[in-house]
């Protein structure tokens, strides 16, 4: 084999290794049974007496936050579990809007997962007994995609449904602010 051929093979190998880092498409179908653990969500950003406590992001966040199959599964769960009935396609209704930048109970993926699992006082039902942890985190990943948080090549542009909001691949990323004028 000529030296040229060997050189280009080495180049190809290096390129594949470099690109292997992006596991945006990793489709972990959870073949192993999952223990039911409470998604260790943290409370919404608040003030801590005696100085802020450093927030460690839940390790599950990176499994779901930018993962295309998880977001797509979250999208179908969103319509099957009737979330659209209250939050519509992100515009809100009975429930608050999810596509804007106001997050009463925190906009990080683990805070959203906690809101879904525990429910919230003004009418958000608690889904802990109805959805597995895997499903709750998939829903949280999809909810974040409504305000454009995940990277553009992990989200679906549209669903096979009536066209509602702008394609998620084109929605600009909202800057997540924690609090909003909490109603009574």
């Amino acid at each position: 084999m000529s030296s040229r051929f060997r050189a280009s093979l080495a180049l190809l190998a290096v390129a594949t290794l470099a690109l292997a880092a992006c596991d945006r498409e990793e489709r972990h179908s959870r073949a192993k049974p999952m223990g039911e653990t409470v998604p260790a969500g943290t409370s919404p950003d608040t003030i801590w007496p005696g100085g802020t406590v450093p927030q460690t992001l839940d390790p599950r966040a990176k499994l779901y936050d930018n993962n295309a199959p998880a977001i797509s599964q979250g999208q179908s769960l969103y319509s099957q579990m009737n979330c659209g009935g209250c939050h519509s396609h992100g515009g809100g209704g009975m429930g608050p809007a999810l596509m804007d930048d106001e997050w009463r109970y925190g906009g990080r993926i683990d805070q959203i997962a906690t809101s879904i699992a525990e429910g919230r006082p003004n009418g958000m039902p608690s889904w802990r007994s109805k959805l597995t942890e895997d499903q709750i985190w998939q829903l949280a990943a999809y909810v974040r995609s409504m305000s454009g948080q995940p990277s553009k090549d992990a989200v679906n542009s549209r669903a096979d449904a009536m066209s509602a909001t702008a394609p998620q691949t084109l929605t600009p990323r909202e800057t997540v602010q924690t609090s909003d004028t909490a109603e009574q």
Binding site: N82, S88, M162
Partner: protein, 619 residues
């Protein structure tokens, strides 16, 4: 080269000019607020209010519909077209709530009672003192989570006064009686269960010693019922469901529906797929009327669940129809189904105005129903026979009503289809007129209808039922109907079934109407204009800009000083105003079940609020 340059300049100029005229022309679409007259009010004998159900006006306003016949007609006539332009603000009061305010203020024994949306405070204001200070406030403290199952804003449509007590419902499904003078609770009965998605937003009706209450939650797969509580003790007298076997629906030997399609045994089960009637909707969240002569109550039944018709094949009895029941036993006397196998969420809960009309020579007791599907029904209130049904606005979802069989004739190329959006269905899901009741003036014989003019795109899909969560199964986008105006105020001649005059309005009309003996009609618009128009010609006489959009019932009462007062509460909300009251994001057109697409501009035109305004003529 020059020739080319100047030719270029000329074309540039005229295209700019054309663009300017185009956008200018679209600005002044036909001028909103000015009436187009189609005919004149009928002279000679015309419809009149039944004396038993609509007694002479004593200056009080004890129930949202003014009287059992639901005329919303005030007998006071100090204010007339001549002097209405001189109305002045007497006093105001803030309810400290910002959701949709759909209820009327009640006035009895010189006290004004206000029931607010969630958290349903009940205020009593002393009208004898200047500025009407607060006598007492009753806080029912409904469960906060009930806000999560209230489909179309956490509203309350009103309280009712009857011999010394104020009756009202709370969002979390309780009916409460409070002593009118002291503000102490007399009794409280839990009727609805929020875990199943049930809420109560309607105004009760007190009749025959019973407090009649119905539930809401058609969008949550709640099985609808109407219940009667004993006025004194609050104990449940009877409860009639709107789906299920005949014994649940209190159908017995007395039940004689006029049309064959409504006759049969256990139709509440047979016209549904198995078990579907248990989560089939048919809630009662609108208006009841009562005829003291025949002791019958009349009420409309809401939409079947889910909105996707393919999931509930069959007529889905007894939803989207009108029941007549005996007030004391609740036994059904007759039923008429307006839209069998409802396709477009056209709840039939609109107001039922009782009237007597001249019918070849003698007086016939009828009921007027400006229904959601867009037809103005005139029906004999003893048997339910449809005498006439003409569209009072643009309708293409239905071809008409066959008077022989009483069946509405659907337009099958507008049938919703799972997996494919059906476009341009008029009227849209809220109907040609939603819950906001019209007013009937026995003086002019006309019915004054505040309604909207909306069409929609409807995409049905398979709905999944989880109790306590929305069970809809449809994506909807609404938009303005033909003419571009999203609302209209129509004066309708019920005898000849035609418009007398109509005022096109920019925004949908979500406020009830009030007509006075003085010949003045009052209504409010969603961007806060409170208008007075001449009952005969529709000419606008006076208007006042309130702090928030008006969807509350205006009333007219005689104050302690004998003068006529006009009062209403401005607080935008409800299904149409949820885009403002629920701070929704207008970038999602399917928000609030599609209404956001029709009122994207509302947040620029009004903010949320909850303010009482009372007017009178200056001394």
């Amino acid at each position: 080269m020059q020739r080319v340059a100047c030719a270029y300049l000329v074309t540039l100029l005229c295209t700019a000019g054309a663009a300017l005229t185009a956008c200018h022309r679209s600005e002044q679409r036909q001028q909103y607020g000015s009436a187009t007259v189609y005919g004149t009010a009928p002279a000679g004998n015309h419809a009149v209010a039944p004396p038993a159900a609509s007694p002479a006006d004593d200056g009080n306003w004890t129930m949202p519909s003014k009287d059992y016949a639901a005329t919303r007609f005030s007998g006071l006539n100090q204010i007339n077209p001549g002097n209405v332009s001189k109305l002045a603000l007497s006093f105001t009061f803030s309810t400290a709530t910002t959701h949709g305010y759909e209820a009327p203020p009640l006035v009895v024994n010189n006290t004004m009672y206000l029931i607010t949306p969630f958290p349903n405070y009940l205020y009593a204001l002393d009208l004898t003192k200047p500025g009407a200070p607060t006598k007492w406030v009753f806080k029912p403290k409904p469960v906060a989570a009930s806000q999560g199952v209230a489909c179309c804003d956490t509203v309350n449509r009103g309280a009712v006064y009857d011999n010394g007590k104020i009756f009202f419902n709370t969002l979390d499904g309780q009916t409460i009686a409070v002593d009118a003078d002291s503000g102490q609770q007399v009794w409280r009965t839990q009727l609805g269960d929020i875990q199943k998605g049930e809420t109560i937003t309607m105004a009760p009706l007190v009749a025959g010693g019973k407090v009649l209450v119905g539930n809401s939650g058609g969008e949550m797969g709640v099985r609808g019922w109407v219940a009667a509580l004993d006025e004194g003790s609050g104990k449940l007298a009877w409860r009639a469901f709107n789906t299920g076997p005949d014994k649940d629906v209190l159908i017995g030997s007395r039940f004689k529906p006029f049309y064959k399609s409504d006759q049969g045994k256990d139709l509440g089960v047979k016209t549904w797929p198995p078990e579907a009637w248990k989560i089939g909707g048919g809630t009662v969240w609108g208006w009841l009327s009562y005829d003291p002569e025949t002791k019958l109550i009349y009420y409309g039944v809401g939409n079947p669940g889910p909105w996707n018709p393919d999931q509930r094949p069959g007529d889905n009895k007894w939803t989207t129809g009108v029941f007549a029941r005996d007030v004391s036993t609740g036994e059904a006397v007759w039923f008429y189904q307006t839209t069998p196998h409802d396709l477009f969420d056209h709840d039939d809960i609109n107001e039922i105005i009782l009237a007597d009309i001249p019918w070849n020579g003698q007086r016939r007791p009828v009921m007027f129903r400006p229904a959601r599907a867009g037809f103005f029904y005139v029906q004999d209130r003893r048997t339910g026979q449809v005498l006439s049904a003409a569209p009072y606005g643009y309708v293409n979802g239905y071809r008409g009503v066959d008077l022989k069989t009483g069946q509405i004739i659907p337009n099958h190329d507008k049938d919703p289809k799972v997996g494919r959006v059906v476009r341009d269905i008029c009227p849209a899901a809220p109907g040609l007129k939603d819950w906001n009741p019209s007013a009937f003036s026995p003086v002019t014989g006309l019915v004054y209808i505040p309604h909207n003019n909306l069409c929609m795109d409807f995409g049905a899909m398979q709905a999944n039922y989880i109790s306590g969560t929305p069970y809809v199964g449809a994506d909807v986008k609404m938009y303005a109907g033909p003419g571009g105006n999203r609302g209209a105020f129509t004066a309708w001649d019920p005898i000849h079934q035609k418009k007398v005059w109509e005022i096109p309005e920019d925004l949908p009309l979500w406020s009830p109407a009030l007509v006075t003996a003085g010949g003045v009609v009052f209504y409010g618009t969603m961007d806060g204009w409170f208008k007075a128009v001449d009952a005969r010609t529709g000419k606008q006489l006076w208007q006042f800009k309130a702090g928030s959009g008006i969807i509350g019932q205006p009333i007219s009462y005689k104050g302690p000083d004998g003068r006529q007062y006009i009062a209403f509460v401005a607080g935008v909300g409800g299904w149409a105003g949820a885009v403002v009251s629920a701070k929704m994001d207008t970038r999602d057109p399917t928000g609030a079940l599609g209404f956001v697409n029709a009122v994207k501009d509302l947040p620029q035109k009004t903010t949320a609020g909850g303010m009482l305004y009372v007017f009178t003529l200056p001394r």
